[in-house]
Symmetry: C2
Amino acid sequence: MANCSAARVASHAAPAPPAPDPTTTVRSGVVRADISFDHLGERSVEIAYEAQGSAAAPATIVLGGISAGRHLAPTAADPSPGWWPGVVGDGAALDPARQQLIGIDYLGGDTEDGLLRPVTTHDQARALAAVLDHLGIAAASFAGASYGGMVALAFAELFPARVARLVILCAAHRTHPMATAIRSVQRSAAQLGADTGQAGRGLALARALAMTTYRSTQEFEQRFDPGPLGVGEPGEPPTRFPVEDYLNARGADFITRFDTERFLALSESIDLHRTDPASLLPHALLVSFDTDSLVPPWLVDELAARSGRSHEHVTVPSLFGHDAFLKEVGAVATLLKTGTPEVVR
Amino acid sequence: MANCSAARVASHAAPAPPAPDPTTTVRSGVVRADISFDHLGERSVEIAYEAQGSAAAPATIVLGGISAGRHLAPTAADPSPGWWPGVVGDGAALDPARQQLIGIDYLGGDTEDGLLRPVTTHDQARALAAVLDHLGIAAASFAGASYGGMVALAFAELFPARVARLVILCAAHRTHPMATAIRSVQRSAAQLGADTGQAGRGLALARALAMTTYRSTQEFEQRFDPGPLGVGEPGEPPTRFPVEDYLNARGADFITRFDTERFLALSESIDLHRTDPASLLPHALLVSFDTDSLVPPWLVDELAARSGRSHEHVTVPSLFGHDAFLKEVGAVATLLKTGTPEVVR
């Protein structure tokens, strides 16, 4: 099934492309593959993918946070927005008219293939390799942000020959204990809900807490009035604050598209993530944001320093913390275009 | 009952002291007082206090975080440590041999006087005034940290004539929305536990989360290995991380000395805290710590700037975030001694 020519990938490391293959613009589906998991043994699992753009065009894998998925931009069959609007789409930095853009749904949680947990970023990388095999892609470029950046780093460690170019945003070779601390509390909240018949409430609470780590103190200070919406007098509902309403709304939204087991698996997967900095490929662009407390610039500096190679690490000023990869569309597009010309050609 | 002479207080604003009154070294008990609460109307409540040192010595009110209380240092009757070891005690910066040191238990929660919530820092200040009346103290100096600093600011706003000197650590005139956000999640976690028959688990979770805001990213990075203690294979307990064990231990300890209603009341009280910066007294020393994310230096700068007066604001470098007032004993003692000679004479 695999067309293992690296030819479809634009890269100084890859050979010349083959004759164009006029396929449909969008290919999506499910790949069934045997994956050798780090902790689950050999398992047959399904991996959902969506590829936009000509199969003859250079391939770029586009990977986002734990709540991102295979759908990268609106298509005729699925006009809903992708998870990275402004960065992926017609005329954008990652443009399906010029590249083949590939997304997957991450493995993890209570699936038809059984409970997938613990699952690691290396497991996700193996799943991704199976999708590339299925699509006949030998090697590809990567634009990976947050959890997707970790998966891209894990992929580069496992399959260096299949990586043409890496752009890693808001991700590093490891987590740091404060970030793990807050995620562990999120998992405990989700578990408390699940154990007491209040799964939605627990998961919403976990997401509310996560939101505090995706944004910055500075943004919240500018955005929310610090005073209460109204003080809960005795016998009334408790006092509510503007920022609390925002967090609760984000939590309520999250539970319409996530469940506890999947959240637990992917949250834990973040904290289990480790790659050897020495495995970082030579032509990687590392991007961090100055207000990102989850993946602070110093952690990305550590990755670059320990890689033993000279790496470009760009720290972009932003108000938006970890979510800057979603919010700083202009800066991200510029970096993808000029910092990594291979990705956008 | 009140001896409203300001004479027992060492202050350039107070008149000369009266003849010494040879009382016992420790006076403790419960004051019953009618308090006009901000949201609860007129209520008769009990306020527990402990005063160490001669009643003839200058009085200093010592107020700490929401889990601090009236017991400031070991006494013959209660040899257990106080909540501010190294700062309060024989030979320390706040020394009962040289001053009368007064602590109270904060109001709030499900008490014998009914459910006290919402309770404000101004309510605590009114309770404190009742204790001072009972002890016959017209005016006193204040060393207030964290929630205690907020209460001291509220006291100074309500009773400026009764304040000789203010030293405020890790507190400001208001909260900021990111801190409120994380406390609101704590309250939701405690409430989820209480609503589902798992009050202890919910409260421990709230405290675990609070601990992440009391310390700094830098400290956790130095202190905890980022890797898991062991990966929870399928069918086993979930993966645990060193920092998670620490947080869980702190949570388990907390629920032996706190209950949900009290936590909810005091946590909410923090977020309801507001004082007019213009009410800040002229001779106040403001102390912040550079890694304190709950009360960051910029927020204390705002208080000083908006007070309309020149105020001394000292920002101390520390690894310990908000908890630096408990951990940086040397710096705190020096500030209490040299920055505020009136407090220690």
